[in-house]
């Protein structure tokens, strides 16, 4: 069985639809759009400013703040950019290089958890290990996590990673928005503080959208006219500006603006009514995860971005 995540979601969706048709009518789940805490914080990442090579101060600051191993390649080593990297249990944020407007001016884009307003990871989690806090962070509680890794399947940005190497208490790992050490007290995260060019602006999400609009209006030649994350998957706390189209800096542009949980919520609410399909649901997940483990085992050590 060779499923990738999108196939899975399609498959899951189809099963739900079939279930809906063949069994009891499901009461249409009210799509109460979550408007979120009005003062929640966010980050605006202006990729046009990122230094990338010779810098990566954000990666190092994140490692220090979260007691992760220091990234093994020093800032001067340009070879880190040869491969597109993804987040990793030991590294919550990575800078990747993409072709820019000219050969001489590549674009560097920081990748970390987007801290979705309606996090797919949270709604996929059976035990509620993920929470969107009023401050804006999506936090994870390892003490309740049962290791099912549904979050990893659900996340549209490929963010959560799993400590496959830890035999005892493997955890799901991802960027925390520095919630415990910084955000809780209203302070900017470590990576933001460390950045020499203030690529990332920390503030109220609502203010950041205004700032982003102003920046685009003042420099229409410099930016693509889009704030990535303003509406994607129902809105994210981390938002991006870019001088080149977003799909060329490794950001998915096929996600739509419907919150992911809504897609899954219909399914989950239907589930209890159609116990008959539970086994196939679990079988799918089981096979999927087995396949993921296999890939992970194959790729262990090479933190390569897998093409979903």
């Amino acid at each position: 069985m060779n499923l990738n995540r999108r196939d899975f979601l399609k498959f899951a969706g189809a099963t739900t639809a079939t279930a809906a048709l063949t069994s009891l009518p499901i009461k249409a789940e009210a799509t109460e759009h979550f408007t979120g805490h009005p003062d929640r914080k966010g980050i605006l990442v202006d990729t046009s400013l990122c230094i990338g090579h010779n810098c990566r101060r954000c990666e190092f600051a994140c490692a220090k703040e979260n007691y992760l191993p220091t990234p093994d390649k020093p800032p001067e080593d340009a070879s880190v950019f040869d491969q597109r990297r993804r987040t990793h249990p030991d590294q919550f944020t990575v800078i990747n290089r993409f072709p820019g407007r000219s050969e001489d001016m590549p674009v560097y884009a920081k990748k970390q958890c987007m801290h979705c307003d309606e996090p797919a990871c949270a709604s996929a989690c059976l035990v509620g290990a993920f929470k969107k806090t009023p401050e804006g962070a999506v936090t994870y509680d390892a003490s309740v996590c049962i290791g099912c890794r549904y979050c990893m399947v659900a996340c549209p940005f490929d963010i959560p990673t799993y400590e496959y190497n830890s035999a005892l208490h493997p955890r799901v790992r991802k960027c925390t928005f520095c919630f415990e050490t910084k955000l809780k007290e209203g302070k900017a995260p470590a990576c933001v503080e460390a950045c020499p060019r203030e690529v990332m602006t920390f503030g109220k999400r609502e203010d950041l959208i205004k700032v982003a609009r102003q920046k685009i209006a003042r420099n229409p030649d410099k930016y693509v006219d889009h704030i990535y994350g303003e509406h994607e998957v129902g809105g994210t706390s981390w938002m991006y500006l870019s001088p080149v189209p977003f799909d060329s800096i490794g950001m998915r542009t096929d996600l739509g603006t419907t919150p992911y949980p809504e897609l899954t919520r219909n399914y989950l609410s239907a589930a209890p009514l159609v116990m008959a399909i539970w086994p196939s649901f679990f079988l799918t997940l089981y096979l999927f995860n087995k396949r993921k483990d296999q890939i992970a085992a194959e790729e262990n050590g090479k933190h390569k971005e897998e093409s979903a």
């Binding site: 230094i51 090579h53 001489d104 020499p196 060019r197 203030e198 102003q214 920046k215 003042r218």
Partner: protein
């Protein structure tokens, strides 16, 4: 006092903004300048100022070198070659490349507006660290593609070195790709080839870069690859530049049938040799625009001299001690300085000029 200030600001706005502010409003709405949604006379709630308000253009106002040490953490202070940067920006937007806002009467320090930490009320205004790094790296990334911190920052505890690049008129920055000549093909009915001997203009005719280059960004002149340093002016712009000196010339003097030959002084019937060849035209001909015919009498430039006070170094050869004592005529027979000196008044035939020198060359 507050009223007075508000009044002054309003008055200034009325004066400068007659068209932009009063009639149509700024491009991006009131928020461009006002922080609150209802600015009033007593509380106009102006944000720090937008980038376009700077006027000082006198390089002499600026310091030579500045130690930027407001926010040292990882490194020592940054020794910033201020004058050099100010001179270079003459080819771009001038002082306001960096000093994008000034209060009347002087340069406003960056830190007066850019706080150490971004203010929540004004997220658009970068903090001091961001302001410096955006400003500096903006150009440095563009022209040298070198982003290593040590190009500006000193490692902790290291000696303050002399700046690598000297400033001053005619100074050239490392990595400058100046073309020797440019050739254009035009559609003009007469001749179709226009040639600019670029290097001659800068080195011989003494034309400053900024006389022709305006608003051009650093990478136009400083780039790793030569092909990227191709200034592309519009036809009108090119004519305006050339005409600023050559207005009196006819079209056919520039638009030729084939590439123009490089200027050679020999064609004037007066070939220049060694020392004179190195001079810029204006040393002998005065003003670039209106050449005067210099006198052919050496004394018109060279003050009367006598053999007792003459400093031989001026010729590019510093005499050694024994030869300093020697009478001029021993080597320059018959006081004819235009022919090679001879050594045989004192030496055997195995010693000749220039195989042996009576001192050291200084250039």
């Amino acid at each position: 006092m507050k009223h007075l200030l508000a009044f002054t600001v309003l008055f200034a706005l009325l004066l400068i903004g007659e068209s932009s502010h009063a009639k149509s409003g700024p491009n991006n709405g009131c928020a461009e300048c006002h922080v609150c949604s209802n600015p009033t006379l007593s509380d106009p709630c102006l944000r720090g100022c937008p980038r376009s308000r700077a006027t000082v253009e006198d390089i002499k106002l600026g310091p030579d070198r500045i130690l930027i040490n407001e926010i040292e953490v990882e490194y020592d202070a940054v020794p910033f070659a201020h004058r050099l940067h100010a001179e270079m920006t003459a080819m771009d937007k001038g002082c306001q490349n960096c000093h994008h806002f000034q209060e009347i009467g002087g340069i406003t320090a960056c830190k007066n507006c850019h706080p150490e930490h971004i203010a929540e009320e004004n997220l658009e205004q970068p903090g001091l660290k961001g302001a410096y790094h955006r400003q500096c790296l903006g150009c440095h990334q563009e022209w040298s593609h070198d982003t290593s911190c040590e190009i500006c920052h000193l490692k902790k505890g290291s000696e303050l070195a002399e700046p690598q690049v000297k400033s001053g008129p005619g100074s050239r920055f490392a990595g400058l790709n100046e073309p020797v000549k440019r050739v254009w093909n035009s559609t003009y009915g007469g001749g179709t080839v226009v040639t600019l001997h670029h290097r001659n203009h800068t080195e011989k005719y003494g034309v400053e870069c900024a006389a022709c280059h305006h608003a051009e960004g650093c990478a136009v002149c400083h780039a790793k690859k030569e092909q990227t340093t191709q200034v592309r002016h519009s036809e009108e712009a090119l004519h305006a530049i050339c005409n600023s000196c050559h207005a009196e010339m006819s079209c056919d003097q520039c638009h030729l049938k084939s590439e123009a030959l490089e200027f050679s002084h020999a064609r004037t019937g007066w070939p220049l040799k060694t020392y004179h060849e190195r001079l810029t035209c204006r040393r002998c001909h005065g003003d670039n625009h209106h050449f005067t015919k210099p006198s052919t009498d050496c004394a018109s430039c060279h003050k009367p001299w006598d053999t007792t006070t003459f400093k031989h170094e001026r010729t590019g050869l510093a005499l050694n001690e024994t030869h300093l004592e020697t009478d001029c005529a021993e080597c320059h027979v018959g006081a004819n300085y235009t022919v090679a000196p001879t050594c045989n008044s004192c030496h055997d035939t195995d010693i000749t000029f220039p195989a042996s020198l009576p001192g050291n060359r200084t250039r």
